[in-house]
Amino acid sequence: MSLAVLLAAKAVVLVLLLLNLVPLLVWVERKASALIQDRVGPNRAGILGLRFAGMFHNLADVGKMLTKEDIVPAGVDRLPFVLAPALGLTVALAAAAVIPVADVWSSGGRSVPLQVADLDVGILWVFAVSSLGVYSIVLAGWASRSRFPLLGALRSAAQLVSYEVPLALAAISVALCFGTLRPNEIVEAQGDLVFGALPQWGILLQPVAFVIFVTGALAETNRLPFDLPEGESEIVGYHVEYSSMKFGMFMMAEYIHVAVASALAATLFLGGWQVPWLPTEALRTHAGPVLAGLGAIGALGGAAALAGALRLPRGVTAPRSRDALAIGGLGLAGVVAGLAAAATGLGADLGPGARATVAAAAQALAFGAKTLLLCFGFVWVRWTLPRFRYDQLMRLGWRQLTPLALANLVLTAGALAALGELSR
């Protein structure tokens, strides 16, 4: 039964992690767009005078979403109308279940895979589950009994089904290279080196697939330049008739989709939890220096926060002095904790459990960094490109990406067959 408890615990942690990633991504989106657009971005909402560079706007948004009147327009199909946002959120969360955040934690005969479900066909699971996300949009558009949402739903049904094809083909090329569909095995395989120097990441083996995958992922997450189901300046979107937290759930689902897509792209192409040049065994053997390195990174981050805080206006009356104090305090705490960790890593002798934990932490950090980098890429693209038109989108999907992905797949298979890799 402890297996079930562990599974449940991992699922809860994953869901909480993803749900908390949403405000972070929203914040990144707002601040990054502000940076790109030459403006300040959110900086007003605060708690006790603390503002934290607009971080609390997300809290305010949650309060707003939860307390706004929840309007269900007359004439809608009630059940699907209510079901749609919940479905979207559920599906987005479920897709992440097979993605490993670190290598299997093992110590003294016990081993815990650091992912919710270690499926043999894990990659397919992500596609299968996220392909259900289209129902959320289609049902929302249909049930609203309104023309603009219906247009959004039509666009969405066509778009999501179309882009799944190149997306899956790109992923399958990678799976071919590594000979498995199990995410953890794919990541493990990416720890090997090619030419004796470079980590054998998916992006090195399959650069074309990476481009196709990221393009398809943008389309699957309904982000610019593929945000046609939403298309706020044209058809206003499939969720026009939604308000309050129902609308909020669509938004959350979108950001979770972004996170999941980034995580999957990191898993397939950027080596997942692999710390470059440091396979799990090496991390465990040298857990002390690794911990010291992590501590040093934390200390550097803390120092950066402290330095930033020192540049904020200070003084009793300055509006951001409390921010300076709080951020500076946190930065100081980070420096102290980082240095302490570094000292522990260098001084103390770690047990096998601790060694595995340190290795897993380093890998989880690497994975998180890669995922967030890709998420930032999503944001960056959104604020740079205009939106496609429906026919252009379809043309890109069917006439360019799909043949390209097919050719890539055939070439990959041919190359692997020539190298005799397929008989493994």
Binding site: L119, D120, L124, A158, V161
Partner: protein, 167 residues
């Protein structure tokens, strides 16, 4: 536990199937179909046929049922118009006959199967992508599989040609 899950999923799929053919609203029918497909995928997963279960969702729920919905949205059937076409006695009877025939055929096949092996099937032996691939692409099923693929390709080409001509 497996048995409980099996009976739950089984009855869910039967209910969803019934709901699919009895619902007046096409949308409700489509949603019932979706539920049915998901429940069947669950059954496959219980049988350690991971690949099949997930492909079931990916292909049928994720693509085909979406296309069904897509067409439904385009056509936007009026519920009243559907109600007006109440099933006639003749077609109802024909349905019962055909249904009974199919059930009989399925039962015959199922009853003729050898009894289930006593030991549980090892998880990695049949349901994985590797084992399915081995059966389909290297075994005696390779030629039928490829012929079916060709047939589907021809069907797609034919559909495109027909749709284009209608312009």
């Amino acid at each position: 536990m497996t048995a409980v899950a099996f009976y739950a999923l089984g009855s869910l799929s039967v209910l969803a199937g019934l709901s699919m053919i009895t619902r007046r609203s096409p949308l409700a029918s489509a949603l019932s179909l979706l539920t049915l497909l998901a429940a069947l995928a669950g059954v496959f997963l219980l049988l350690e046929a991971q690949f099949l279960g997930i492909v079931q969702i990916l292909v049928y729920a994720g693509a085909i049922a979406v296309l069904v919905l897509f067409v439904l949205m385009m056509v936007d059937l009026d519920a009243a118009a559907v109600r007006a076409q109440a099933p006639r006695a003749g077609s109802l009877a024909a349905g019962v006959v055909v249904g009974a025939a199919i059930t009989a055929a399925v039962l015959r096949v199922v009853l003729a199967l050898p009894p289930a092996p006593a030991a549980p099937i090892p998880a990695d032996s049949v349901g994985t992508a590797r084992s399915v691939g081995a059966v389909l692409l290297t075994g005696p099923l390779l030629y039928p599989f490829e012929i079916v693929s060709l047939l589907l390709l021809v069907a797609v080409a034919g559909a495109v040609a027909l749709a284009k001509r209608k312009v």
